[in-house]
Every structure is written in structure tokens, then in C-alpha cells.
């Protein structure tokens, strides 16, 4: 692997991704755009919760739901964003074939495109957390945060999401009619099965193993524990696991997905070239 080419591909894709994300409007409207959407999404859950519990924000269920939903923003942005880069370049800008003939490392290029989505998602997550802290009594005490666990978990989680995104990007190279649905379907399924907004015990017993097989379940648990440890540990789902065990599982799954993503992307990329799909424009 040519390191300078990989780094250049990553760096330039990061810059390009940011331009695509941000330069369609003025900074003010862009700021409104990245704030309103996630806030509206979390507000739906807050209203649902407050109707039923009569505004009992002190219950541990509330921070469980709120933090799970807040950090799930990364899933939608990073994982889906990387696969969307294929659709944008192939179908919308019609530049994917030029990327392929340029001296680029495609996986690094796609991962770079995910960085801008990560930055946008980080702003959205931060705003969501601040709103929770200052307006909804989210028991978030900066002095009590386990920053080491938080940073390591965040790094591992985002890496894992990027790897999942690369797998989806590879599959998207091969898919024509349903490319819009792939990322949304996976993100939707993960939202449902990973216990993002409700403890896994609420799922029917036969569906729970699906949740336990998903790395996002462990990642979200680690994020909750690092921010509000005592509250997060109140839920029985992963109570028998220590932080170290959860980190170990997340690390193992991240490595597994990283290896899988490399082979999957190579295989899909090879098939896409062989079948002439790189410049396939469907106009759907």
C-alpha cells in the first residue's frame, strides 16, 4: 500500500466531503440545518416520554433513551454517509469513474468522505447533549465523566461505524435500484435491535440475541457508562459485563468488521469493475 497516496486520498476526500456537506448554503442556514434535524428527532422521544411519565426526567429510563438516541446520530451520519458517497459520486455528480482513473486509494477516499459527516454529527451530538443538560435535567456532570473510557469508546465506536460504512459502500457499488434503501435499512435495523432507545429486555426474547450480536449495543452501553455510569448500570441488559469486558468485545468486533470490510470492499470493487458498474447511472 502506498502510504502517501492513501493519506492524500483520505485528506482530499475529507476536504471534498466538507465542501459537499457545507457549501450549499450560508453558514447560518447550515448551522440551523445540522442542529434542527437531530433536535427534532430527539424531541419526538422527549415528548413521548414526558406524556407518559408526566415529565419524570429523574427516572433512569430517560437518560438511557436520551443518550442512546444522541449517540445514534453517529450511526446515521458516519455509517450511512460513507455508503452514500458512492451514490453521490456515481449517480449524482457522476464522478466515480474519474475517481477510479485518478491515483486514489478508494477505501481511504471513502473513509475520508465519512470524516466530514463525523464532524457534522459531532456538532449535532454536542448540541443534543447540551440541550439535555440545560433544559431536560439530564444527569450529566462533567466532573463525573470517565473521560478515558469516553474517548476510547468513541474512537472505537466511530472506527467500527466507518468499517460498517465501508462494507455498505462496497455493496452499494453492486446495487442499482435499491441503493437509497441500503444504508437506511441497516441504520433502521440497528436502531431497533441495538437497544439505542429502549433496553433490550423490551424486545421479544427471540429477538434479543440479534441485539447482543450487534457491536453498537456494546458501544452505546459504553458511551452511557462513561457519561453517567451509575444510571447506565441500573439496567440489567449488560449489567453482568464490566467496562473492560465491554471494551474488549467492542475492540474485537471492530477488528472483525475492519477485516471483513477490507475483504468485502475488495470483492465488491472487483465485481463492480468486472461487470462495468463503476459508471452505471440509473437516473432513479
Amino acid at each position: 500500500m502506498n502510504r502517501s497516496e492513501s493519506f492524500r486520498s483520505f485528506r482530499m476526500a475529507t476536504w471534498l466531503g466538507w465542501q459537499i456537506e457545507a457549501n450549499w448554503t450560508d453558514p447560518f442556514l447550515f448551522a440551523v440545518y445540522i442542529i434542527i434535524k437531530p433536535l427534532a428527532s430527539v424531541a419526538i422521544l422527549v415528548v413521548m416520554y414526558s406524556i407518559i411519565t408526566k415529565g419524570n426526567y429523574a427516572s433512569p429510563v430517560f437518560p438511557y433513551i436520551y443518550l442512546g438516541n444522541a449517540f445514534y446520530i453517529y450511526v446515521a451520519f458516519v455509517m450511512t454517509g460513507i455508503s452514500w458517497a458512492v451514490i453521490e459520486d456515481r449517480e449524482h455528480y457522476r464522478t466515480l469513474k474519474y475517481m477510479y482513473v485518478a491515483p486514489l486509494n478508494m477505501p481511504f477516499y471513502l473513509l475520508g468522505r465519512g470524516v466530514s459527516r463525523f464532524l457534522v454529527a459531532s456538532v449535532a451530538v454536542l448540541i443534543t447533549l447540551l440541550v439535555g443538560k440545560f433544559f431536560l435535567h439530564l444527569p450529566l456532570d462533567l466532573a463525573g465523566v470517565d473521560w478515558g473510557l469516553f474517548l476510547v469508546s468513541l474512537f472505537l465506536g466511530v472506527t467500527m461505524l466507518a468499517m460498517l460504512g465501508l462494507i455498505l459502500a462496497g455493496l452499494t457499488l453492486l446495487i442499482v435500484n435499491h441503493h437509497f434503501a441500503i444504508g437506511d435499512a441497516v441504520a433502521g435495523a440497528l436502531y431497533l435491535f441495538s437497544g439505542a432507545i429502549f433496553p433490550l429486555e423490551v424486545l421479544p426474547a427471540w429477538l434479543r440475541p440479534v441485539g447482543f450480536a450487534m457491536p453498537i449495543t456494546y458501544w452505546l452501553e459504553l458511551m452511557r457508562r462513561s457519561l453517567i455510569g451509575n444510571v447506565a448500570e441500573a439496567f440489567p441488559t449488560l449489567a453482568s459485563f464490566s467496562n473492560g469486558q465491554l471494551l474488549g468485545i467492542l475492540f474485537g468486533l471492530t477488528v472483525l468488521f475492519a477485516i471483513t470490510s477490507i475483504f468485502t470492499f475488495r470483492w465488491c470493487d472487483h465485481l463492480a469493475r468486472e461487470r462495468g458498474l463503476i459508471d452505471w447511472v440509473t437516473n432513479y
Partner: protein, 285 residues
């Protein structure tokens, strides 16, 4: 060849006025109704994706110990998201897509009315989306064992058709704004999803909001449509309703008139403006 050309010309000469208007509606509705059913896997994803969100919200309600009727509220709301997504992506932003693919110029050049084209899109989209919404309701009701108790089928049908007429009228009106947009169209449509789910009470009764917030949200026809439908199909719906169903029907009638008339006026105005500013064929990806 000459014979065919002259035949085509003589046929097109005969189709004018209302006949052309109606034929245009039919022609534009056809790909929406037939084309969308041909790709069965699209039908699957159109039902499957909202079902995921619906299931997640149902489990949230169960996690916080909500009464079972809220499960039904979520399912009906989830089914209605199909219509809102259809409005955003296949009505409002449709003229933007047409601009991107180069069809918009052809629409303007052709001797038919843009209003008829949009009406065709609306009718076709409504029929195709209704199939998906019914599938979501049936599937959701079976999965989560929701019980319905319809108090008046007449009112229910009236509410549904009035809400849809007003909603698609609103979609046609917003399509005229999108006629002027370029790259930002996609982002604006994207931005209008979750906030509308929130203010229109897709997953909870709109009565939970302050009166004035609920009243403002009622400008979106799905707000009152959903509220009235929930009142009519769930035993406890009336207790959680925002306004009396009869009043909501009356407001929906007003919204139908306002949005359809507004669509006609704005479409004419925006079409002229877009032509004058040369935006019909611009493509800023």
C-alpha cells in the same frame, strides 16, 4: 413515416382544453401507479423502513409503560409518514429532480399545463402511497395486536380524503418553490422530515402540545387528519383529541381550498419567474 407524422399531429390538435388537462393528469399518474408497483422490492423497502421506526417507537412506549392505545397511535402515525415522505421527495422536490434530469424544460415546452402534471403526480403518488400505508397498518396491527373501534366510517373516509387533498395541494404549492431551488432542494426536503414528524404528532397525540403550538401545526393537513383519524378509530381517541372531529373536518375543507388555489397561483407565478431568471434548465450539482 409522413402518414404517421400527420396522424400524430392531427391527434395532438384534437387534444386541447380540459381533455388535454385530463389526459396529462392520467399520463403523469400512470408511471406513479404502475411503475412503482413494478419494482416489488421498492414496495418491500417502502413498507419495511417505516416499520422499523414504528417498531422502535412502539418498544419505547412499552419500555416506559404507556397504555396500549399509544401503540395504535404510533402505527397510524407511522403509516402516515409514507404520505409525508411522498410529499417531500416525490411532490415538492420532484420538479428539482426533473430539472436535474433535463425533463423540466420539456414539461414547460409541452402544450400541457404544469398544474395538470403536478395533479397527475399527486393522484398517482396518493394511490401508490396508500398501498404502502395500508400495508404498514395491517402489518403493524398484526405484529403488535392493535384493536380498532371505528365510530364513523363516513367521517373517517371524509377525513382521510380531505387530509390527502389538502396535503397534496400543499405538496403542489411547495413544488412551485422548489422550482427555483437547486442544490439546496435536497437538503431542504431532508430538513423537513423529523421536525414535521414532531410538530404534527406522528407518534403522539397533538393535544400534548400547548394549544397555540398545536393550532400552528394544524396548518400541515396531516396534523388534523391524523388527530381526527385517531379519534375515530380508537376508543380513547376522542379523549386525547385536539379539536372536535367536525371542526377538524371543517378546517380541512378550508385547507383544501387554500392549498389548491395557492398551488395554482404560485405555480403560475413561479413558472414565470423561473423562466425569466433562466432557472428551468440550470443544474448546479
Amino acid at each position: 413515416m409522413k402518414t404517421n407524422d400527420s396522424l400524430a399531429l392531427s391527434t395532438s390538435e384534437k387534444v386541447t382544453g380540459w381533455r388535454l388537462f385530463l389526459k396529462t393528469i392520467g399520463a403523469r399518474a400512470y408511471p406513479r401507479v404502475v411503475g412503482m408497483q413494478r419494482e416489488i422490492s421498492w414496495l418491500f423497502f417502502d413498507v419495511f423502513l417505516p416499520m422499523l421506526a414504528v417498531s422502535a417507537y412502539v418498544f419505547v412506549y412499552r419500555a416506559i409503560g404507556a397504555p396500549e392505545e399509544y401503540v395504535g397511535f404510533v402505527i397510524v402515525g407511522g403509516a402516515m409518514t409514507a404520505f409525508w415522505l411522498n410529499i417531500l421527495w416525490s411532490m415538492s422536490s420532484q420538479l428539482y429532480w426533473e430539472k436535474e434530469t433535463g425533463n423540466l424544460g420539456l414539461y414547460i415546452m409541452a402544450p400541457n399545463s404544469l398544474m395538470a402534471i403536478l395533479l397527475g403526480m399527486a393522484i398517482g403518488g396518493l394511490v401508490a402511497t396508500a398501498l404502502r400505508a395500508v400495508a404498514i397498518i395491517v402489518l403493524g396491527s398484526l405484529l403488535f395486536q392493535v384493536q380498532y373501534s371505528v365510530t364513523s366510517f363516513t367521517q373517517l373516509l371524509a377525513v382521510f380524503f380531505l387530509a390527502m387533498t389538502a396535503l397534496y395541494g400543499m405538496g403542489m404549492m411547495s413544488a412551485s418553490f422548489f422550482l427555483l431551488l437547486s442544490r439546496e432542494a435536497w437538503h431542504i426536503a431532508n430538513l423537513a422530515q423529523e421536525p414535521v414528524y414532531l410538530v404534527s404528532g406522528f407518534y403522539f397525540p397533538i393535544k400534548s402540545f400547548n394549544f397555540w403550538i398545536a393550532a400552528s401545526a394544524s396548518l400541515i393537513p396531516l396534523t388534523l387528519g391524523l388527530d381526527a383519524m385517531r379519534q375515530l378509530v380508537f376508543p380513547s381517541g376522542a379523549a386525547l383529541g385536539f379539536l372536535n372531529v367536525t371542526i377538524e373536518i371543517a378546517i380541512l375543507i378550508v385547507l383544501c381550498v387554500v392549498f389548491l388555489a395557492g398551488a395554482k397561483f404560485l405555480l403560475d407565478y413561479m413558472e414565470r419567474l423561473a423562466i425569466r431568471e433562466g432557472r428551468i434548465t440550470e443544474s448546479r450539482r
